[in-house]
């Protein structure tokens, strides 16, 4: 390991320990590490934006076209119009001239919304709706996993049940009684209330949602533990390299 790499690893280890000091409480070391991270990330993002976006997309074409080139009809769209839109967008910085940047902002928001909505309908809404209408035939085969038979039937049934009950759980149209309860319970057995049909359906939907959130929480916990392991290994390697370099 070279010396710059060793120094960089050492600084990384120090900052890692500063972040882990949050175990004690919110302290200046933790805040210093956060500030360093935010500052370096912002500066790096600015540099990336200049080198990867602004300079090749805005400045270089202008210099490449020159004064004579920007008067060409093709340059009006590729060079002049982007410059105009960028400049009027900069007018948003001042409250007095902010209204002149509305055109650029409207273009950004409108195009972004159109793209997002179109992609959501064609990429999520329709495919997911179709995914809940799978056949219950034991002969059907899942296209990706290859499951079939009883397993396929159970899986499709669970998807159907989960979809229906979850949608019914988010049904807010039921009229509540004066006591605040949605409906009359079916029975009360030794203090345990058995809900009615609608309440039962909502309870099943609630259970599906709870299982989904539980799985997501388990995944997040798993990811955090892997990151913790990686940091501890990094500290171990850094100390090992440091001691190796020193001695």
């Amino acid at each position: 390991m070279t010396t710059p790499e060793l120094i960089a690893s050492f600084l990384g280890a120090i900052i890692t320990l500063m972040v882990l000091s949050y175990l004690f409480a919110d302290n200046p070391l933790f805040r210093l590490a956060i500030h360093i991270f935010i500052g370096s990330a912002s500066g790096y993002a600015g540099a990336i934006a200049w080198h990867n976006v602004l300079r090749p997309g805005l400045v270089d074409p202008l210099f490449a076209a020159g004064l004579r080139g920007i008067t060409q009809p093709s340059a009006l769209v590729t060079v002049v119009l982007p410059w105009i839109l960028v400049l009027v967008l900069l007018l948003k910085l001042s409250p007095r001239t902010a209204r002149y940047g509305t055109l650029s902002m409207a273009l950004l928001v409108g195009v972004g919304a159109a793209v997002a909505v179109g992609g959501a309908v064609s990429g999520t809404l329709v495919p997911q709706t179709l995914a809940s209408m799978e056949s219950l035939s034991p002969a059907s085969v899942a296209p990706q996993t290859g499951e079939t038979g009883l397993e396929r039937m159970i899986n499709v049934s669970l998807v159907l049940l989960g979809t229906i009950t979850t949608l019914l759980y988010f049904r807010f149209g039921q009229r509540q009684s004066l006591t605040g309860e949605g409906e009359t319970p079916l029975a009360v057995i030794s203090g345990v209330t058995i809900p009615g049909p609608a309440g039962l359906i909502r309870a099943v939907g609630k259970a599906f949602i709870a299982v989904t959130f539980g799985v997501m929480y388990a995944g997040a916990l798993s990811a955090a533990l892997v990151v913790l392991v990686e940091r501890l290994q990094f500290l171990r390697d850094t100390l090992s390299n440091l001691f190796g370099a020193l001695g």
Partner: protein, 676 residues
């Protein structure tokens, strides 16, 4: 009187004090010896300026002017009854008093009292006014219209209007005829006064004659005509005053009083009754009892009754007797009694009417008012800067952290305990491995590093297994990102794996860099990649010097659309990023598969795109267990396998902590249930 209050500072003072002991203000008038409630000798000491009206009268008498007949002699009982009632009870009747003279009770009943007041004459300002009026009267020559001169008693005025000009309104303030009062012993007997009928016509101003002459015949006849007949209530009172039916009981409205007043007697309002004027406040209810039957009971709304001020409102104005009334000491009304004193009303602080209202407040309103009051007080209260308390070490927090750190660090530092690699692998892992294994090697694979540096510990390990398989196949690799911090992450992963598989930067692997613009940019990149990314990132030095871009490298030379890639792999920790690529890019990829390398937390939201009938995602690699299984299928040990033992112990510790927490919650719930 126990004490007297200062009109200036409102503080109490002894009753005999002449000056306020607090502010030094004078408590009694300067010119008089206090209220004229003493004997006649005390009144005789009153300076002549006190009663300027009497002096005016005496002056006119000294001039020898003949008095008109109409004002010759006041007839006893001709005064309005309210004026009769105001007179002090002890004052002698002034039946023989001359019209224009100051009444006996005003002249303190002393013989020659008016004459005694002639010593200094009228005030200078009054003399000037009178002289001006005389000149004006002589110039005009209209005696009948100069009724004001009659009031002044000037020689030019024919009638003395002191009483003759007074035209009592029939039915309202005309006094009932009374027997002649005995003459005053110190005055010569005078002719009994006649009814000032003709004189009144002359003395009444022209504007008043015009106003009342049409419908009101002059003299006592008019009063007799206007009186309503007994037993029938008047539809319209004299002088056109409306009869308020709603306030007076209709049954006895027109009936004669029980006492049987003679016709023409004054029908005074109740508030001007003698009992109201002279009697004490305690006598009012008794006097009004007889009238209550005639009055419709007043009904106030409850809210108005609640708002009615009960402490500051005085229902009865107590009119003091003449002797008790103070004499004005300053200003143009100096010397007059019964003048409304402005100073106490203006200078004396009074209790605020609003503040003293007794409102009907409910308990809830009171509680809300208390709450509001407390909030206002809390706003004004300064928060004491408390010393920052030392951080308290939370036992549970430290216990959880200690257990996790120990369980994670133990395998990292000591290499034990060791967990066997997972023998079971996810079902989708086989299809993904097959997919990568069958990719065409001549087309490049696109790797999208769309995760933050914080997730590099997990996603580097998961992604490296798949990237290494691609490198084993010899497929050229191009990287890009939609996050500004993604390019260094991609460069770090590739730089670690490229030497292992002899990948040369710029020849087999190239970084395209950052794609800005979110979902719109992803769609644009899917359609025209060369227009979306213009340059490259961390290109070799010779390429930078030559001015070439990433698209000029052998990796991307044949790529014009997204479908030209052999594989698109998105490595991400967020479901939103995965959804954007599945929604925006898949439609333009053709037969090119889309693979997601996901963090474990994002898998539940992305898996539906994979298991759909028309899948938007063709492969999923999620979490460290799947990556370990992938490495094992490849027959090599990578980052996932290196972290497997520590990950296993950490997961075991986490499961123990979760189980302990669930057990603690169940015990608490059971104990609470037992207590209930």
């Amino acid at each position: 009187m126990s004490e007297q209050r200062c009109p200036m500072c409102s503080r109490p003072n002894p009753p005999d004090a002449r000056e306020c002991r607090h502010c030094g203000a004078r408590l009694t008038p300067l010119d008089l010896g206090g209220p004229a409630s003493g004997s006649g000798s005390q009144r005789q000491q009153t300076p002549p300026e006190q009663d300027w009206l009497a002096r005016i009268r005496a002056e006119s008498e000294a001039a020898g002017e003949p008095e008109p007949e109409s004002a010759a002699e006041p007839v006893a009982g001709e005064l309005p009854s309210w004026l009769e009632e105001i007179k002090p009870e002890g004052s002698p009747p002034e039946a023989g008093e001359e019209a224009g003279r100051v009444p006996a009770f005003k002249a303190d009943g002393e013989p020659g009292g008016t004459k005694a007041a002639d010593e200094s004459g009228p005030p200078e300002w009054l003399r000037r006014i009178r002289a001006r009026e005389e000149e004006r009267a002589q110039d005009s020559g209209e005696d009948g219209q100069d009724w004001l001169s009659g009031l002044r008693g000037s020689p030019g005025a024919e009638p003395e209007l002191e009483e003759g000009s007074y035209s009592p309104r029939p039915g309202r303030d005309m006094a009932a005829p009374k027997p002649a009062a005995p003459e005053s012993p110190d005055r010569p007997p005078e002719r009994p006064r006649e009814r000032p009928a003709a004189v009144s016509q002359e003395a009444i101003p022209s504007w008043l004659r015009q106003a009342g002459g049409q419908d009101a015949p002059p003299g006592p006849d008019r009063s007799a005509e206007q009186l309503p007949p007994s037993g029938s209530p008047p539809a319209t009172p004299p002088f056109g005053l409306p009869h308020v039916q709603a306030l007076i009981g209709e049954e006895g409205a027109g009936e004669a009083p029980p006492g049987g007043k003679p016709e023409g007697e004054v029908d005074l309002p109740d508030w001007m009754d003698a009992a109201s004027l002279e009697g004490p406040a305690e006598a009012l209810p008794a006097a009004g009892e007889g009238e209550d039957s005639r009055l419709a009971p007043a009904t106030l709304p409850s809210w108005l009754e609640a708002m009615r001020p009960v402490e500051t409102f005085r229902p009865v104005v107590q009119i003091q007797t003449e002797d008790d009334q103070a004499v004005e000491s300053a200003g143009p009304l100096a010397g007059l009694r019964g003048v409304l004193i402005a100073e106490p009303l203006v200078a004396m602080p009074r209790t605020a009417t609003v503040g003293s209202m007794q409102l009907a407040v409910s308990e809830r309103q009171y509680a809300q008012a208390e709450l509001l009051h407390r909030m206002v007080e809390d706003e004004e209260r300064e928060v004491q800067a408390s010393r920052r308390a030392r951080p308290q070490l939370n036992f549970i927090r430290w216990a959880v952290a200690g257990v996790l750190l120990f369980a994670t660090a133990l395998p990292v530092l000591s290499g034990s305990p060791r967990f066997s690699l997972p023998s079971l692998e996810p079902r989708e892992l086989g299809s993904l491995f097959t997919l990568i294994d069958t990719l065409p090697a001549e087309r490049p694979a696109l790797l999208v590093f769309d995760y933050e540096p914080g997730y590099s510990g997990e996603l580097d390990a998961v992604g490296e297994a798949l990237i290494e398989q691609i490198m084993v196949r010899g497929i050229p690799i191009a990287t890009m990102t939609t996050r500004p911090t993604g390019s260094p992450l991609a460069m770090r992963v590739i730089d670690r794996l490229a030497p292992l598989h002899d990948y040369v930067p710029g020849e087999e692997v190239v970084h395209m860099g950052y794609l800005s613009g979110g979902a719109t940019a992803v769609q644009l990149f899917s359609l025209r990649p060369r227009e979306a990314i213009l340059q490259g990132f961390d290109l070799p030095q010779d390429m930078q010097e030559a001015g070439t871009t990433a698209w000029d490298t052998p990796v991307l030379r044949g790529v014009a659309a997204l479908s030209d890639f052999s594989l698109v792999t998105v490595i991400t920790a967020g479901t939103e990023t995965a959804r954007v690529w599945a929604e925006q890019a898949k439609n333009y990829m053709g037969q090119t598969p889309l693979v997601m390398v996901l963090s474990a937390g994002a898998e539940p939201m992305v898996r539906p795109y994979y298991e759909a009938r028309e899948p938007r995602v063709n492969g999923i690699l999620t979490g460290l267990p799947a990556a370990t299984a992938y490495e094992r299928r490849m027959g090599r040990e990578g980052l996932a396998a290196q972290r497997w033992n520590a990950f296993g112990t950490a997961m075991l510790a986490s499961e123990v902590i979760l189980a302990a927490g669930v057990a603690y919650g169940l015990v608490q719930w059971w104990m609470a249930r037992q207590e209930r």
